[in-house]
Amino acid sequence: MLHIKNLHARIEEKEILNGINLDIKPGEVHAIMGPNGSGKSTLASVLAGRADYEVTAGEVTFLSKNLLELSPEDRAREGLFLAFQYPIEIPGVSTTNFIKTAVNEIRKYRGEEPMDAVQFLKKMKEKMKLVEIDQSLLSRSLNEGFSGGEKKRNEIFQMAMLEPTMAILDETDSGLDIDALRIVAEGVNKLRDGNRSFLVITHYQRLLEYIVPDFVHVLYKGRIVKSGGKELALELEEKGYDFIKEELGESVEA
C-alpha cells in the first residue's frame, strides 16, 4: 500500500530524514517510535505533503501512485489521512460543516454524488458513538476552545468519517489522560478492518498497549535503525532509547 524508499527530506538547510525505508501492506499497523528530534513528525508531514519540507531524494508510492507528485489535497482524496499532533482551529466554521465539506470534496474527486443531509447525519451519528464524541462539540467552531483530549478525539472522529485507506497518527497520545487515551485507541481499533493501514507515531509505549502494532520501528537521526514486532516497544520502554544508541556504538551522555 505504502512504499517508502530511501526518503531524504530537509527543512530550510537542515537534513531531517536521512534515507527512510518502509513498506506497509494493507491492514497492517506500523508503529514508529523514537526520541525527540529523531524525525517522527517530519516523516508524517512529508507524507501528507506539507510545503515547508523539501524532499531531496527517494521515492514514495501510495496505491501504486507517486505520492510525492500529488498535491496535499489529492493525497487526502486518494485516501491518506493525517491525525495532527496539534489540530488547527478555524473560528466560525462548525466541525460538522467542515467535515461535510471534506466528505463531499473527496466524493467529488472520486466522481461520486455529494452526500445529502440525511445520509450525512446518519453517518455522523454512527461514527460519533465510535469515538464517544458529543454532538454539542461538533456544532462548535472547529477545534476552537477544545481541550487537548477533545481535539484528538475530533481527529479520530474525522478519520472515521473520511474512511481513509492509510491513516497516520502523529503523536495522538500526547497530552491525553488515560481515559481519553483509551477512548481514542478504541476508536482506532474499531476502524481496523484488515484493509486499512495505520502508521502510528508515538514517543511512548503506552499507546501501543491499546493499539497493538504488527511492527515497531525505531527512528533515530532520520533513519530507521531497528525494526521488530510489538515486543520491541516493551524493550524500549524498559531500557529507554539509550540502549539503541549503545547498540549503534554511540556514547551515551549522562
Partner: protein, 481 residues
Amino acid sequence: MSEMLETLEQTALSDYKYGWVTNIEADEAPPGLSEDIVRFISAKKKEPEWMLEWRLKAYRHWLKMTEPTWPNVHYPKIDYQAIKYYSAPKQKVTLNSLDEIDPELRATFEKLGISLDEQKRLSNVAVDAVIDSVSIATTFKAELAELGIIFCSMSEAVQEHPELIKKYLGSVVPMTDNYFTALNSAVFSDGSFCFIPKGVKSPMELSTYFRINAENTGQFERTLIVAEAGAYVSYLEGCTAPMRDENQLHAAVVEIVAMDNAEVKYSTVQNWYPGNKEGVGGIYNFVTKRGICAGVNSKISWTQVETGSAVTWKYPSVILKGDNSQGEFYSIAVTNNYQQADTGTKMMHIGKNTRSRIVSKGISAGFSNNSYRGLVQVGKNATNARNFSQCDSLLLGDKCGAHTFPYIEVKNSTAQVEHEATTSKIGEDQIFYCNQRGLETETAVALIINGFAKEVMNQLPMEFAVEAQKLLAISLEGSVG
C-alpha cells in the same frame, strides 16, 4: 514556507460579473455643475418651488465647502465639472403597468437577478429599481398601500407626499453635514421613500436596487425611511455598475427615522465595480448614512457587506436620542487588488439606557487598504449607556493593509464602553489542515473567510445572505493560491 507564501502573494483578477453596459437611450444633462444644472434637474422632475429652493441652498453651501481629506484613502482629484449630473433612460412618460417597461431595461434587471414581475415573484420582497438617475419601477405598491405603507421613488414622494418630505428630508443628515451631502442635496436625482405608519409591521422586505449605466455620470440618490411608533421594516439595498476605465462618483444619502418602539433594519450588499486588477476604473463610493432613534425603545440596525467600489468612504451611524434605544452596526468590508475602504460607524448616545453594538470584519487582499473608523460618543445625560465594539481584520498575503481608528468620547461616568480588536492572517497551518482533509486551497480560503464573517452574515435576511456569501468568494477569487 516559501511556496505557500508565494501563492499567498499572488493576486489575480476577481471576476466582476455585473460589468456589462445596457444600450438604453438616455436623456442627459450636459457635464458640469452650476445653478442652471440644479434648475435643470428640478425642472426635469417637475418639482415644486420649495424643492428647488432647497436644492439651490444646498448648492450654494457646497460651493463654500472643501472635499474632506481626513479619510485614509488616496485618489486623484475629482473634476466636478466633468461629471454629468442627470441621466435618465428615455421611455414613455408614465407607465400604466410594469409590462410597459422598456424590454432592454427589463432584461437588465433580469441579468441582475431582480425580477420586476410581481406575478412571478416568489420571494416576499418589494423592489424599487433605480437606474442611473431615476427610479424605473416599484413593485408591490398596491399591496403595501393597503396597509398604509408608502413605498415609492423619491421623485414621486416629492409630488405625492410633500408634507412628509418637507418634514423629514434633511432632518437626520442636514444638507450642510459634509461636502458630499451638500452635493447630493443639490443634485440628487432619485431614490426611495418608505413610510411605515403607526403600529404597522411591513409584511415583506422592501428593497432598492441601484444601477449606474451611463458613462461619465454621477449617481446621487437619496433614501428616506420613516417608521412611526411601533412600526417595523426590513430594508435591503443592492448596487452594481458596468466596468469602465474612468472612475465614477456615487454620493448617496440615506436617512432613517425611528419613532417610539419602532424598528428599522437596513441591509446593504454593495457591489459597485471595484476597478480592474491594476486599480484602473471603479466607483468612488462616498456615502452618508445615518439614522435617528427619535423615540423611546426604538432600534436601528445597519448591516453591510461591502465588496465593491474603488474607494469607499462610508459610516452608517445611529443617533440614540430616545431613552432605551438601540443602535447596531454589522459590517463586512472586503478589499482586493487596489481597492481602498475607510468605513465604520458612529454611535451617538444621547438618551438614557441607550445601547449600541458594533461588529466590524475587514478582509484585505492584494494591494488593498481597509480601514475601520468608528466613533462612540456618550453624552452628558446618557446615563447607563452601553457600547460593545469588536473590530476584526483578516489579511490575505502581505502587501495589503488593515487599519483601525476607534474614537471614544465619554461625558457620563456611568457609561460602559468596550472595544476589542484583532488582526489575523489566514495561516498556512489552517490551509494545510484543510488541504489534508481534501479541500483545495481556494475552497479552504472561502471556508475560513465565511467563518470569519459569519457573525455578520447571520444578520442578513436569508435571500441576501446567500448572495453575499457568493459575493465574498468571487471578490477574493484568486487572491490566495
